[in-house]
Amino acid sequence: MNAVTPATLYLVTAILLILIGLAGVLVRRNILKMVLGFALADTGINLLIATLGSNPERTAPILDKPELLANPSLVVDPIPQALVLTAIVIGLGVTALMLAYVIRLYALRQSLDIRDFGRLKW
């Protein structure tokens, strides 16, 4: 691995994003920042999947030119991109639901500190 390719850079960024997001979830005490951590990890996972399906020698899986139609092996795998599209939408829904819970929790205790919500802890 002498030359750093863009794909390698994307993979490293994606792994870093996932780890930073999880670190935020584990270490932070502010619930809003924990939600942000989840969203960050989500983005990292999406980037990871999209990069795994990429190939510098191939182009996007949209066969809108005659030369691509004649030689479809010039395009990348469409499945990771479709899965990432699904994952982005689900991630959005999950983040929205978490934010709604945060609004509700704040209304309950007037606080965003996770230590104030320890009643279910054993």
């Binding site: 993979l11 829904g93 639901l97």
Partner: protein
Amino acid sequence: MKQILSVVLLLAMGWFLVGLVPLGQPTEPGRVAQHYIDNGIDENRGANLVTSVIVNYRGFDTLGEVTVLFLSVAGAGFVLRRRDGLVRHEHRPSSEILQTGARMLFAPIVVFGAYIFVHGHLSPGGGFQGGAVIASAVMLLLLADRSHHLPHGLMHWLESMAGFGYVMAGVAGLVVAGSFLSNQGVLPLGTWNRLFSAGIIPIIYILVGLKVGTELSSLLDVMIDTGRPARQEGGRS
């Protein structure tokens, strides 16, 4: 102690991820993907293979995805329904320029979103992206004018009809071709790379775009609504 545990956990996770990922090696399409690439045009006639995969090959999955989005929006609405204990702010009305500008930009952004989801089978984009663009236009309107209320009856009707239409398109495939959401023989497939092509794929993606747009707009409305003073005339339940 907890911090050390977190760091150890993260290091283990990072080591696992780095070992899992083939660094610097491009991947070739697998057997299923190769089938989609080779036969996608013949089977669906849609230029955008990602759209073919999402709406046709994995159409059932997308129906579930739309349901998940609906459930999360409904859950958020349910959680924020009772407004006791929520902090209410009296907002200063925003300036005339901001309100007029937002109202002027609203229509072009909605048209752009509609363009994105109508052309989902030809170019990058589709129902989810177009719906999100439409929701961003609604968000602009709601943020510029906090007293603005969305027409809830119309939104719920559109959303229900879009979801119903999606299922009906699937049932049409079941009746005509014998499998749910099938694209064979329901509508003529048309010519490659034309707007009227790809059978039921554009129809379904337009319905998905409407559904996602109205759902995300309702979600934004519910979230912004929590900061508003309660409405005088009874309001919503």
